[in-house]
Amino acid sequence: MSTTETARAVEQQAAGNSFLVDVWITLKRWLRKAVRNSSVVFEALITPFVFLILFTQVFGQLAGGPIQELFGADVTYVTFLTPSIVILSAMVVATHSGMGLIDDMNSGMFDKILVSPTHRGAMFLGKALADMIRIIIETGMILVLGYVLLWIDSGGSVGTYIQTGLGGVLGVFAIVVVFALWFTAFSNIAALVTQDATSAAIWAYLVQYPLFFASSAFVPISVLPKWMQLVATINPITYGVDAVRALMLGQDVLTVIDVTAFSGIWNTVVPAVIVLGVFNLVFGGIAVFLLRRVASSRVS
């Protein structure tokens, strides 16, 4: 029997899936793993929850007055802080993305999938989509918790909590995804460079927490020292937080750069999305380069 006949016999046996089916299969696997691994889900929520509750309870009285002066009478520290916590929770989930990649490499699942006919791109796209779905779900939970805190504190209405209504909520989800991409890419870069889950997590924390304080997340930019204001200007967290905050407070809150070309909240949202898009291109590009290298069969 010739090799072509052998090949034909083989072809009857197995054919790979289309690219989209591979994306869907990968997505399902990662979501299933996330649900199964309840400690990861819990961990991803606990830090943002603790931050939101402690910060509002400890600093709420102190910061409440100045916040009201800056943003208006119906803005409390809870409504000011919730957008930051939404961004924080997205970063925690993004940190886990790189750790999941390391787990797959250490458990041999990564090679196992590389030996299968799964499309290389689908392997990574499906996983990224699963991460984004987790981020959207956790964002929803933070938004609910924020409102519960507001209601307990001051009995504020949903209307004062999210000024732009249902469209604003959808906008928040969209902004969080746009924001999370660069940090998801960063966490995967850290994972591929360090090849170690603990080191990758340390990289992520080292970037995450200093950048959070040097941004508009916890206090208005104007009260930060000059050098921190400078850091805040080139800090993607500022843009992520301000875009979510603009949607929730229904006003232009971006102060690190002065944009007036649009109207109202768009003076914050449009420049923020552009800046975040640049970060996504840079970090996403590096991550894709490294992922392609690790998935390639070329000897290194």
């Binding site: 052998t6 083989v10 054919a15 696997r29 458990s107 090679d111 590389l114 799964t118 000897v299």
Partner: protein, 347 residues
């Protein structure tokens, strides 16, 4: 698998053709050198060699994980460089380190494998049940493998490599680190799969394993194939079983004297007799039968024998016979996964 496809595969030419395959890592390590190989469909073939001999690197070039630096590999009629996806669809691969997703149940692991290999949805449920039964995991199908023993995880790994009924399965040191019972159990499964017409490609450090399973095997050393033959033919190069005598006072003179006595006893006229650190060793087809007579002969010559053993030839003996050096002299820096499997097992 139908009898007809089985028949066709058995009758066909080659599952793997390798021509002048070289693989050099960027640090200059020549892990695989000039490998030439033709493995017919249906054969149970093995690579036998010590850690670092290049077994894992070679298998990784066959399964498209590594691109050969030079030469060509054709698997099931597809070129690994030109048509890697067709190769991947047509093979099953079990890596040296056990590769299962511990967050998914045994059933979900197999189901995921079915999905990525595009096993038709219609037959999937039965296929999964059949595989669970084949590897004796049906009663723990809905448990997560984190609580499984090393052998159970390996069996689950085997099942996931078989979902698409590949005509060719690669097993990279499938039993390293397993206890003897788990090893026997896996051997049974491998034989069963091979009997259904599947070509099997195995790497191992154990002659016993290659002997037990393989129709043919290649001895690999420093990335080169130094002998390819049936296990019996290779073992016959050693000259039979090894009979070791330990003397109470093994000075050089005593050992030489003992060697002479053995030679003159007439028991092992055609066999290799060599002095060892402890006394003397004989490689002979009838080592087991003549052992007691030899002891008597030695006692009559005035020797005090403190140790006596007869064993089958090991990888070391085969290596010694073929290359003149022992397998364990090799360094283990080429096949890096050898270390990872150790940690995976001890975990």
């Amino acid at each position: 698998m139908s009898a007809e496809t089985t028949e066709r595969r058995k009758a066909s030419s080659t599952a793997i053709t390798a021509r002048n395959v070289e693989l050099t890592y960027s640090d200059g390590t020549r892990a695989v050198r000039d490998i030439d190989l033709d493995i017919p469909q249906g054969e149970f073939f093995g690579f036998l060699g010590p850690n670092g001999a290049g077994k894992t690197t070679a298998i990784k070039t066959f399964v498209t994980l590594l691109q050969p630096t030079a030469g060509s590999v054709t698997v099931n009629g597809f070129d690994v460089g030109e048509d890697p996806r067709a190769v991947r669809s047509s093979i099953g691969y079990m890596a040296q380190e056990t590769s299962v997703d511990e967050e998914l149940t045994a059933r979900e692991n197999i189901q995921y494998a079915c999905e990525i290999y595009g096993v038709p949805r219609s037959g999937r449920v039965e296929r999964i049940d059949d595989l669970l039964a084949l590897v004796d995991l049906a009663d723990v199908a809905d448990k997560q493998p984190s609580g499984f023993s090393g052998g159970m995880k390996k069996r689950l790994d085997v099942a996931t490599a078989l979902v698409h009924e590949p005509p060719l399965v690669f097993l990279d040191e499938p039993t390293t680190g397993l206890d003897p019972r788990a090893r026997l159990c896996l051997w049974e499964h491998f034989r069963e799969i091979n009997e259904q017409g599947t070509t099997m490609f195995l790497t191992t450090q154990y002659l016993e394993e290659a002997d037990e399973l393989c129709d043919r095997l290649s001895v690999i050393q420093n990335g080169q194939l130094i002998a390819t033959d049936s296990p019996n033919a290779l073992k016959s190069q050693v000259g039979g079983d090894i009979l070791g005598i330990t003397l109470e006072d093994p000075t050089a003179e005593q050992r030489a004297h003992a060697q002479r006595v053995v030679r003159e006893s007439g028991l092992f006229e055609e066999d290799t007799i060599e002095p060892t650190d402890e006394g003397v060793a004989i490689a002979s087809e009838h080592a087991r039968r003549e052992g007691t007579d030899l002891l008597v002969a030695l006692r009559e010559a005035g020797f005090t024998v403190t140790g006596f053993d007869v064993r089958s030839p090991t990888l070391d003996d085969v290596f010694l016979a073929i290359t003149g050096e022992t397998a364990s002299e090799e360094t283990a820096d080429e096949d890096q996964p050898d270390d990872t499997v150790q940690t995976a097992v001890s975990r």
